[in-house]
Amino acid sequence: MALITMKQIYKVYHPGEENEVRALNGVSLTVDRGEFLAVLGTSGSGKSTMMNIMGCLDVPTAGGYYLGDSDVSKLNDNQLARIRSLAIGFIFQGYNLIKDLSALENVELPLVYRNIGRAKRRKMAIEALSMVGLENRIHHRPSELSGGQQQRVAIARAISTEPPIVMADEPTGNLDTRASIEIMELLASLNRKGTTVILITHDPETAEYAHRIIELRDGKIIRDHVHEQQRGKLEGGAAK
């Protein structure tokens, strides 16, 4: 069964008014477990709206959105929060760490909201931080870390609850090339371990890391293809 199923999703802002915006205009998509998907589009293409709906931060105006076999398109705030807490880890362009909390406390936060006890929480958070190579920086505040390190903390936070889906919204947008490569490699390795990774980006180069790229324009999917290089790798791998 598909992990994510979107059926004819519409998202309309200010419906019926002069400034009506059809951010998503009938998008249908299925994503299988374990995929590395990039949503590529320029600003205004609807990719942010796509990510909000896929990430259960928002609900569509019309259409069905299924995670597994449960319809999440009509849930209320608290139910959406519950889904986010259980199924989705977020990585943002601006890292979005809480500045008053240490790296460890930031990573622990999603576990707090899942009511995981203090000792277990700490252990899981430290594991996640070691996975991103920051086990020596756990007591640093975000302001004491570089951009790349902050983004790695954010990744640790996203994966600390071991969610099936990780959503990354322009994760390298604020980073230099080297840090960008590090972050993308991390996401790729995450995907190799079985996590479904959904990358939202405007940058075709970054999208190269994904196995499948869908391109959005004016709220519609204009292209959906499995990346050739990746296909080559996959086929090559299979051939050997």
Binding site: L57, A81, R82, R84, S85, I98, D100, L101
Partner: protein, 391 residues
């Protein structure tokens, strides 16, 4: 969840905004200090009143006749007999100032003339020796019980019992010493009590026209009070020229005054607490606005509305509890100082009571939570997408 987590977040947030947090607390500090000081002060004043009433004796009715030089002791005695079941003790109550001598020492004292029940009616306790007897009264013996100041002035540390003093040149034998009355000054201790039957010997106007009657309890006091009024009306045929009063009347009156004072003070203090609470609401609203992005982050990683509400409520409660604790300390300190200034004579130490302190602390938390609810609720309703976009 997460109470511990929310609490440590609250402490962090307060520490990161020290100046602002202190200003927020200031309202609560002032409000609670005012409440604590006022309540403590009023209870001190009340205690002081009660103490001085106790000195005079509770449940007493005083009867005075001053229309002319008539002796009304027979009528009062008869009325008292009729009211026997309501009355614990009864005494004539005359007084005059005169010089008292003991060998070469002399002192100007208040001479009290009463019955063997005088000490009961006026709330004196015998420290040494004994009260004079009914027989002493009947035979107008020249015996005296002296107050603590008279003892100090005339006898220093010697035991006065059995010794003699001269009042108006007449020799009296001291049979007892009253315990010192604390809290009412020297007036009550600079006294010499002798049997009222010495009235002709000591008084210029010997008519027995003043009495103190002690009723068995508060209810009886009312009955005695009313009957004595009737008796005086009967004797005089008038509403004037006499005076019947009851200590309980005064106590009721003062209690009423004190209650009015408490209510007024409480009202003012209450207003300052509300103002403090509004200060908290204000700052929490600022805090919610400043931390919109943080709220967005928390929501995106799984915080539910209740999680956000409880975080901000706990923060508000913590701020106001901290303010409350400081306010209580300030209030206790002010009470102590005011007590020193106001109650110099009794040396009463004025401190807030334990229930008051605990109540005030709990109340400060409630205020914080109450006024913190609106901002907290507003924070919890933020849309995570908009909140994440905020700078």
């Amino acid at each position: 969840m997460k109470l511990g987590q929310s609490f440590s977040m609250a402490i962090k947030s307060i520490r990161n905004n020290k100046g602002r947090s202190f200003l927020t607390m200031l309202g609560i500090i002032i409000g609670l200090a005012a409440v604590i000081t006022l309540v403590t002060l009023v209870s001190g004043v009340k205690k002081q009143f009660m103490m001085s009433f106790e000195e005079m004796g509770t449940n007493t009715v005083t009867v005075e006749y001053y229309m002319d030089q008539r002796d009304i002791s027979k009528e009062i005695y008869e009325t008292s007999l009729e009211l026997n079941e309501y009355i614990e003790a009864y005494t004539p109550n005359l007084s005059t100032y005169t010089e008292v001598r003991q060998q070469d020492k002399k002192s100007n004292c208040r001479i009290l003339l009463g019955s063997e029940s005088f000490h009961i009616c006026s709330n004196y306790a015998i420290l040494r020796g004994s009260m004079f007897t009914h027989d002493n009264v009947l035979s107008a013996d020249r015996v005296a019980v002296i107050g603590s100041k008279v003892k100090d002035d005339l006898f220093n540390y010697a035991d006065p019992v059995g010794r003699s003093i001269r009042i108006n040149g007449q020799r009296f034998t001291v049979v007892g010493v009253f315990e010192e009355k604390v809290g009412v000054g020297n007036y009550a201790n600079n006294v010499v009590l002798v049997p009222y039957t010495n009235n002709r010997l000591l008084m210029n106007s010997p008519a027995i026209s003043s009495f103190i009657i002690k009723a068995v309890d508060g209810d009886s006091t009312g009955k005695v009070f009313a009957e004595m009024q009737n008796c005086m009306k009967r004797i005089t045929g008038n509403d004037w020229g006499w005076w019947v009063s009851s200590e309980n009347q005064y106590i009721d009156f003062y209690n009423e005054q004190i209650t009015t004072m408490s209510l007024m003070g409480g009202g003012i203090a209450g207003i300052s607490l509300i103002v403090g609470g509004i200060g908290i609401m204000n700052i929490m609203l600022v805090s919610v606005t400043e931390r919109t992005r943080e709220i967005g982050i928390r929501k995106s990683i799984g915080a539910r509305r209740l999680d956000i509400i409880s975080q901000f409520l706990i923060e508000a409660g913590t701020i106001s509890l901290m303010g409350g604790i400081v306010g209580i300390a300030v209030g206790a300190f002010l009470s102590l100082i005011l007590g020193r200034i106001l109650f110099t004579e009794t040396k009463m130490i004025l401190l807030p009571s334990v229930p008051l302190v605990l109540g005030a602390a709990a109340f400060s938390v409630l205020i914080g939570m109450f006024f913190g609810f609106y901002p907290a609720n507003r924070a919890s309703k933020l849309n995570p997408i908009d909140a994440l976009r905020a700078e």
